[in-house]
Amino acid sequence: MDHPLLSVQDLTVQFRTRAGTITAVDRVSFDLAEGETLAILGETGSGKSVTAQAVMGLVPRPAGQVTGGRIIYDGTDLLTRPPSEARRLNGTELAMVFQDPLSSLNPVLRVGAQIGELFRRRRGASRAEARRKAIELMDRVGIPAAARRVDDYPHQFSGGMRQRVMIAMALALQPRLLIADEPTTALDVTVQAQIMALLADLKAEHRMAMILISHDLGVVAGVADRAMLMYAGRVVETGELREVYETTAHPYTRGLMASIPELDGPRERLQPIPGAPPDLMRLPSGCPFRPRCAYATDICASQPPTLAAVPTRPDSHRAACHHAEEVLADVVAG
């Protein structure tokens, strides 16, 4: 990638809590090219949302702090810019859609006014113009009878329609990068399919770069180009999505794949990962996945693994495991 739109380098985010300091994001690096979609995957607490918050400049202060790394957007480091300037980017260049659309919409403002507000404040549009733009966008994201519904309040919309409103707001100022954090997790499968189809359309139409955050490996498979798996705040495996899913080289990714019942797979006993996701306050030495890992040996306790090229696709596929080649051999053997 010669000129990535976004380049995150060694990003580290810590939270100070009453019980002590935790490293929610631990030296995370990734690049994203114009028009490319990256899926960030992993279980609860792995650091997906905090990574997104850091890119958007939304890490809650003062408890949370970016303590290291760089976030280079279009050539300049967002972390060293004055906050006012970073805020200006939000919406125009970068935009985000959250999991829970109701809590991010203002309940006492009409939906159309909330979308239109962006045009009025950021583009100096007139009231009538903003309203027209709002209807246009609502129509674009598939809200039926947009011209009529523009004056409704958020509670008059279903969960799926609210998520469309959020997407409409995120798209209003034509951002170059859209981050969607679990955009369909609270929705029915039928509505989830609608939203994912919409995101795929938008991606194709506008060459918009996207970061899709999910705990569901299946939901992103049809849309994302690349996948990045996180565990305990660290990137454990990354590469082209298909490579990561087919020639898996990290035991955690492999465990996740074996935990999912497949709609068209054989109905055999699941092979869950033993144990539970780690407590960031009490991480084991070496590899954080070690206590749950069938491949773990002495080296895993003494030396934290770093991301290294996976031999099948050394240019793009990397995994952080001392036993990556064994895992890969087992995965390939079935």
């Binding site: 279903s158 039928t190 189809a197 919409l198 049809g222 999912i260 497949e262 068209d264 869950p272 996701p277």
Partner: protein
């Protein structure tokens, strides 16, 4: 759903609705028809999966079966006894019989944390059931029995005196399962019991449910919105839409030869993990949302979102009956999925 065995649970034409009151007019102004004429059988030792979109009435159906909601009409036959007629009495022999039967039906909820009293230890949470239902386990056996139950669900009995907040989400769900098992139920209703869990932990709990069924001969009514999970655990599946069952059958029948357009749409919406390796499939993207159960569409309730709807669908309600293939469906125009579906469906 035919089975040679006598059904353990048999639901007959069940109707449950909620009144809508107007604060302004101080009277009932309408009704939410949450469950509108549902019938099914669940044989002993088997699992019936219940699927359908949010608001289709799954939880209301479950709550009516365990007696938390009173149906407007219909029967809930457990072992041949109708719980609806039994529940008319507060005291006496019938009330005692009802309590004895109800004990055998337990429920596991989606949110393990909300359903566990934070001020009680795990031991107290589990023993509470025996306090309320004396005679199931004698008091001198409580300690041993709690330990057995915890071990059975994969928790360390040494942790029995800890509080719910000291456990992870997956462990809390195991506590919920242990509590449900305390009264030695024969039927366990799992309402989105694994939905909130991370996939690796969800797989552990699914395996546990499978093992418990094999060991204890439990029957499950398994409610979930994740169709892959339902397919994994169920012997039979019922598909619910706006208060009614639209298709029922064995898991294979529903997943490989669904004939109702709603079932086909639901299945086609399930994301596949390896789209490049999956057989090509027609994705049906349904338009709009599930209509309000206050004033459901006339005739077929699915017709407002159906790409095959004809005038007949508005005037005549399709009942759940054998129409095409070897299992019941409720569509005037059932078709096997091999039939090509119009591409226009994809329009949002």
């Amino acid at each position: 759903m035919s089975s040679p065995a006598e059904p353990l649970l048999s639901v007959r034409d069940l109707h449950t609705s909620f009144p809508i009151h107007s604060a302004l007019l101080r009277r009932k102004v309408g009704e939410v028809h949450a469950v509108s004429g549902v019938s099914f059988d669940l044989p002993a030792g088997r699992t019936l999966g219940l699927v359908g979109e949010s608001g289709s009435g799954k939880t209301t159906l479950a709550r009516t079966v365990i007696g938390l909601e009173r149906p407007r009409s219909g029967q809930v036959l457990f072992d041949g006894r109708d719980l609806v007629t039994l529940s008319g009495r507060r005291r006496g022999a019938k009330a005692a019989e009802l309590r004895r039967i109800r004990r055998q039906i337990q429920m596991i909820f989606q949110d393990p944390y909300a359903s566990l009293n934070p001020r009680l230890t795990v031991r107290q949470i589990i023993s509470e059931a025996w306090m309320i239902n004396p005679g199931v386990v004698p008091r001198h056996r409580w300690t041993a029995e709690v330990n057995d139950l915890l071990a059975r669900v994969g928790l360390n009995p040494d942790h029995a005196d800890r509080y719910p907040h000291q456990f992870s989400g997956g462990q809390r769900q195991r506590i919920g399962i242990a509590r449900a098992l305390a009264l030695r139920p024969r039927l366990v209703i799992c309402d989105e019991a694994v939905s909130a869990l991370d996939v690796s932990v969800q797989a552990q709990v699914l395996n546990l449910l499978v093992d418990l069924q094999a060991d204890l001969g439990l029957s499950y009514l398994f409610i979930a919105h994740d169709l892959s999970v339902v397919r994994h655990i169920s012997n039979q599946v019922a598909v619910m839409y706006l208060g009614k069952l639209v298709e029922t059958g064995t898991t294979d029948q529903i997943f490989t030869a669904p004939v109702h357009p709603y079932t086909q749409a639901l299945l086609s919406a399930v994301p596949v993990t390896r789209p490049w390796a999956a057989p090509p499939r027609q994705q049906i993207i349904l338009t709009g949302d599930i209509p309000s159960p206050v004033s459901p569409p006339s005739g077929c309730r699915f017709r407002t979102r159906c790409w095959k709807a004809q005038p007949r669908c508005a005037s005549e309600e399709p009942v759940l009956a054998h129409r095409l293939g070897d299992h019941p469906s409720a569509c005037h125009f059932p078709e096997l999925p091999a039939q090509p579906q119009p591409a226009a469906v994809g329009a949002r």
